[in-house]
Symmetry: C2
Subunit: 469 residues, 2 copies
């Protein structure tokens, strides 16, 4: 990048918010994905905007000089989505993190993209309100990143994905122009006026524009919750229990599954849990609502699940619920114990398949892992069919490093064959671009046409999502 | 339209499904909007496809000869959205009405666009399932129309709008090409792979493509419901009760408001209702769930509402609930009685404003109506801020015909001034195109650019939504 451009950027951002040192650039060269950890890519410069005007000025500059521009939130992504694979500029939005307005009367907030999910919910707590989408990275991830990836999490089965809560977005387009979706000055909770451009932006992973302000719907905090934990001899029994739950009319706020390896791992980390790890599957149901509602639901759910399981525990007491829920909370970290000294690989970790296919898919993933000699645990949001595979390898073992990547490819292809998708909530980014054609067929050409219309110079997050390179 | 094209169409559809008689064409010249009832526009020809291939062949022909093509469902729209204002071809999708698959295990259905909402729900009933979005026209409207307008209805406050339930769409693009959104062969319940083109299509009112198949998410039927009916001296008290309900953490499945005129009208139609029409507002809350949950919610809700209201009735008994709910059910028809022999006008009937502005907006609409000497009742989905205004005029009174149109314009402008939108669930179509610029500012240009990219010859539903003419 030539000096002239750096000078331009310093004019926009001031000296302190234009980073060019090697150390600074390295920090922005990877995310949580295995692919970018193996092969990081540094930007030429990092800028840190504090306002929409600065973002707009920077985008205009990049567009004029045709420089790749990579928007980044907290960098918690698992797809390389924010990694500058063609160099250029990283625009770090994490300092645009003001909560502009909590409009509790109108059940909405206006925030900047760099606000962390947990910080927003902390601020909402005193109004007895919350922003429901809850990815595992809620304590670190930004709401801008959540919208760009259409994140979801444990409670999507009841509360829906991030998309459900987006009322309007201020967006800097690839030309630098600023638009407001969903009405220039609207605070309406519903609108069908015009194409809903917010919904085109959501999940577009920073390739169509940079979100600089978000108008988000919020909901009341549930009063309390209950937990039902059940273990199943066979994976098929767990599938049966999930189906019976839906048919009973009960709407759990979460239905999580853990395979035998995950139970073993959780027991290693917390022996008190004493999970029955001679069975094939564990399900953890959460229900929420008022005290009376929760008690009623926990009892009905226990009855339904009991027909399929060999072991059930339940509670509607907050402290006991916390203990039962712990198994699910620690599993992400615990899988590391399956291979002591090993490294938890993120890749092939986010497939989603039809619920009826889950037992077959879980077994297939176990077989794939075994065939490559890779140790892994499988857990996930079974109510949505969303499975997280957690392979753990030794980074100094070259064979494992190669094999885990073959395993990842097999899992992605398996998902598509099983009428599923390679990604339920993490996104495509760099690491799943190669499956786009297979998954979408001719629809991919329309995505490319839209990208070309909105970003004719292909400056925003180029090289991702199988869009033009 | 020349004979050659009619022959082409007959080759595609056979003689019986190409309609050219005056009577047939008249049937397709208007919808439920006042504007098109005053000024209907006939197509040159109507075609009735039975397959995606026929739709595609017809679109290709229209694109080649640059003939306007207007997709139509049941014609229940209130915006002129399906009316052929530039002549050409109307493509009537109501006969593509097969329920292709009810996949209850995977909580989804695959249907053709012409399936009527109520028919789908009738078929789902035996599985104890339902497709939740419930517009007032549920017994007539097609799911294709619901998706094209992103319809909602009474229960959107709990269950969300039509968009929430769309998993994938088969779409014939303006070039005739067929794509499948959300994965070519997917049955996943969640996916973030690629741009979500379904969400661009939803609400695009047939201007970007013709939906020929829909993959829709379904939910369990709630076991039972409860009703709380409360009346308020002042509109502000009703607003306070809605806000207090949200803050209490109760999630009603509907919160409906009726103004004093609506109460009077309902009492005229059903004197047994005996609604307290000396008060300014009536709220009707519905809650749903299991028997225990409903009983708990009804009692809590009654406590909350009681602090604001002068009169409360509640029930969790099905028969009594039916009676209490009747007030809301008949109001659409009852407003006609406010002006005996009058005609219920649809126009300015679908604004949505921030909840906190509702009392002010309700009063303003009443004042606007009075200033033009127009009789109307106001009701709506108050939990979303969505108000339906029902003016009733004498069609042979020229002054009223002119004044009601001025009133409609004032209501639309009021909605935008009050940080709302001109349309919450009915759409833009013909009748709200003039407000698009004011509502969306520079975002409108992006909508136009997308339209141009996808439909370069502007053949699909031209003349609507302030897109290119």
């Amino acid at each position: 990048m030539n000096e002239k451009l750096i000078l331009h950027l310093k004019k926009i951002f001031g000296g302190n918010r234009v980073l060019t040192s090697r150390t600074d650039r390295m920090t922005y060269s990877y995310d949580a994905s295995f692919a970018t950890q193996l092969d990081p890519k540094e930007p030429e410069v990092v800028v840190i905007p504090q306002s929409t005007e600065e973002v707009s000025a920077c985008v205009k500059l990049a567009n004029e000089y045709k420089i790749p521009l990579y928007p980044r939130g907290a960098g918690t992504g698992q797809t390389g989505g924010a990694v500058p694979i063609k160099g250029g500029i990283v625009i770090d939005l994490s300092k645009m993190n003001r909560i502009v307005e909590i409009d509790h009367q109108n059940m909405q907030v206006i925030v900047e993209p760099g606000v962390v999910q947990a910080d927003l919910n902390q601020a909402l707590k005193e109004y007895n309100l919350r922003f429901p989408p809850d990815p595992g990275s809620a304590k670190m991830c930004t709401v801008g990143g959540m919208v760009s990836n259409n994140s979801s999490g444990l409670r999507a089965v009841k509360y829906g994905v991030t998309r459900t809560y987006v009322l309007g977005l201020e967006v800097v387009l690839p030309t630098g122009e600023v638009i407001m979706t969903g009405g220039e000055k609207s605070k309406a909770l519903k609108s069908v006026s015009g194409y809903d451009l917010a919904h085109l932006m959501i999940g577009s992973e920073g390739t169509l524009g940079i979100v600089t302000k978000l108008r988000l719907k919020i909901l009341p905090l549930p009063v309390t919750r209950g937990i039902v934990l059940a273990s199943f001899k066979k994976l098929e029994d767990a599938g049966g229990a999930v189906n019976a739950t839906f048919r009973s009319g009960i709407q759990p706020s979460a239905i999580e599954i853990m395979d035998v390896n995950c139970m073993k791992a959780a027991n290693m980390m917390k022996p008190d849990l004493n999970l029955p790890d001679d069975n094939e599957a564990l399900l953890i149901f959460e229900v929420d609502g008022s005290k009376d509602e929760v008690t009623a639901q926990v009892h009905r759910l226990t009855e339904v699940v009991n027909e399929y399981s060999v072991f059930v525990k339940f509670s509607d007491e907050p402290l006991e619920c916390q203990t039962l829920w712990e198994a699910r909370q620690i599993v992400g970290a615990a899988v590391g114990l399956l291979n002591p000294g090993g490294f938890r690989v993120y890749g092939g970790e986010d497939i989603c398949v039809p619920i009826s296919r889950l037992p077959e898919v879980l077994r297939s993933i176990q077989n794939i892992a075994e065939s490559y000699g890779i140790i892994c645990g499988i857990y996930g949001h079974v109510g949505d069919g969303n499975l997280h595979t957690g392979p753990v390898i030794k980074l100094n073992n070259k064979v494992e490093v190669v094999n885990v990547q073959k395993m990842i490819d097999d899992i992605h292809n398996l998902a598509i064959e099983m009428e599923g998708t390679t990604t339920a909530e993490h996104g495509v980014g760099l690491v799943r671009a190669e499956y786009m054609e297979k998954e979408h067929g001719p629809a991919l050409e329309l995505m490319r046409a839209i990208k070309k219309t909105m970003d004719p110079n292909n400056i925003l997050n180029p090289g991702k999502m199988a869009l033009p390179n």
